[in-house]
Symmetry: C2
Subunit: 240 residues, 2 copies
């Protein structure tokens, strides 16, 4: 694919040589979102091959943007942003803001993926408006093939591995709230293009169970960090 590099001394060109590599930006986004372990990173970018992920991690480490360290307790490797890596946050955020403002929403809603959505929701869910006790929320996407249509979020503020756990098998606990909807609706809500109330009114979303949890869903359901940005979308959107 050509002589790798643009032959330019301009800092934009040099940064672009790094950030232009496939998956690198997505990987940084995952790291910024807080994932530190190899397989957690994979969950956030399911289409990457382990070989390539390993390679990209190596490049970023070589570059000084991340460090690889071994967790003393578990013995498992952890990848963390260095100061240099942390300073890429404005770049990634600016990209996301622009993408959200200007890229056709339709396009987002073509790349639907229930696992990815649930993984994102797990990360941003806000336990505060929920009951103090441990609660289980079941999501059912009735337009998704059987195998990936049901998910359970278990919220427990006192859990060791973060307050929210995502299951793809029935955890066998009593469910406090059932959420039944289609993938597109839930994704649109997550991206701030739709709201819980509107979806309920339209009948695109059904809630069953704890009334209080139903009422406060819009507040505990964390949204995409870009959901607040005003959408513009002037052009014809991406061709792909």
């Amino acid at each position: 694919m050509a002589a790798r590099g643009y032959g330019q001394f301009c800092p934009v060109a040099m940064a672009s040589e790094v950030l232009g590599r496939r998956w690198t930006v997505i990987l940084l986004r995952e790291l910024m979102a807080g994932s530190e372990r190899f397989n957690d990173l994979r969950r956030g970018m399911p289409l990457i091959s382990p070989a390539l992920l390993s390679k990209r991690l190596g490049e970023l480490e070589e570059l000084g943007a991340i460090t690889r360290s071994v967790d003393a307790a578990t013995g498992s490797p952890r990848y963390r942003l260095t100061e240099a890596g942390e300073e890429l946050r404005p770049v990634i955020m600016a990209m996301g803001t622009w993408g959200h403002r200007w890229l056709e929403a339709q396009l987002s809603l073509k790349n639907l993926d229930p696992s990815l959505l649930m993984w994102d929701m797990r990360r941003n869910l806000n336990p505060d408006p929920l009951p103090q006790r441990r609660v289980t929320i079941q999501f059912l996407y009735h337009d998704v093939t059987e195998r990936r249509s049901r998910f359970w979020l278990i919220v427990d503020r006192d859990a060791e591995d973060g307050p929210v756990d995502l299951c793809i098998r029935d955890p066998g606990q009593e469910v406090d709230l059932y959420v039944s909807t289609d993938l597109r609706t839930m994704t649109a809500i997550w991206m701030g293009l739709d709201s819980v109330r509107d979806a309920l009114d339209r009948g695109s979303l059904q809630l069953t169970g704890d009334r209080e949890m139903q009422r406060t869903m819009q507040t505990w359901l964390g949204l995409s960090v870009f959901a607040g940005e005003t959408k513009r979308v002037g052009g014809r959107g991406m061709s792909a």
Copy 2:
């Protein structure tokens, strides 16, 4: 190169599908720097093939980031950023700022290119500190092969095509200031890694001609827009 696209609805991923394409970021930088014509754009990215430049321009137009219009006077096409394209400026700037702060300076100084440097300098030169009359400045890079070692900047505030013209052939005018140096020194000054004074003191830079222009060189010589950023550089720099 694989299924084009990351299969993600995240705005970062979608923006990255556009900005990750080779040369796209460089092209945007050129447009943001003010180039509007096909061959001016090429001068700012000499290693791109005309076919690919044409393709990228088409993609950005399709996307709604630029418009192509035909100049009524000259009949030549002009490419300009739309509002959506203009809003990519923070992204490009953030990339440049990061690149300047964290990427090994050595690396920049490996991608030396006299034509590119002169083309950048032409753009950012500040005519104000210079004499009111038309002045000619000759640059001689004594470490560069004969054919690309001499350049002339002609500064004329009243010229039709911008105040500064760059020539690669002797324009046959009396030269007001001779600048003799090596390519690395001049690039380092341009990037804010070195100063006119220091280079003069070290003997890496020689000036002959108009004393006043010599004295004020650091002020009329416009620097890279990133020259003000503090360099950090923690890691081992890029592998390339």
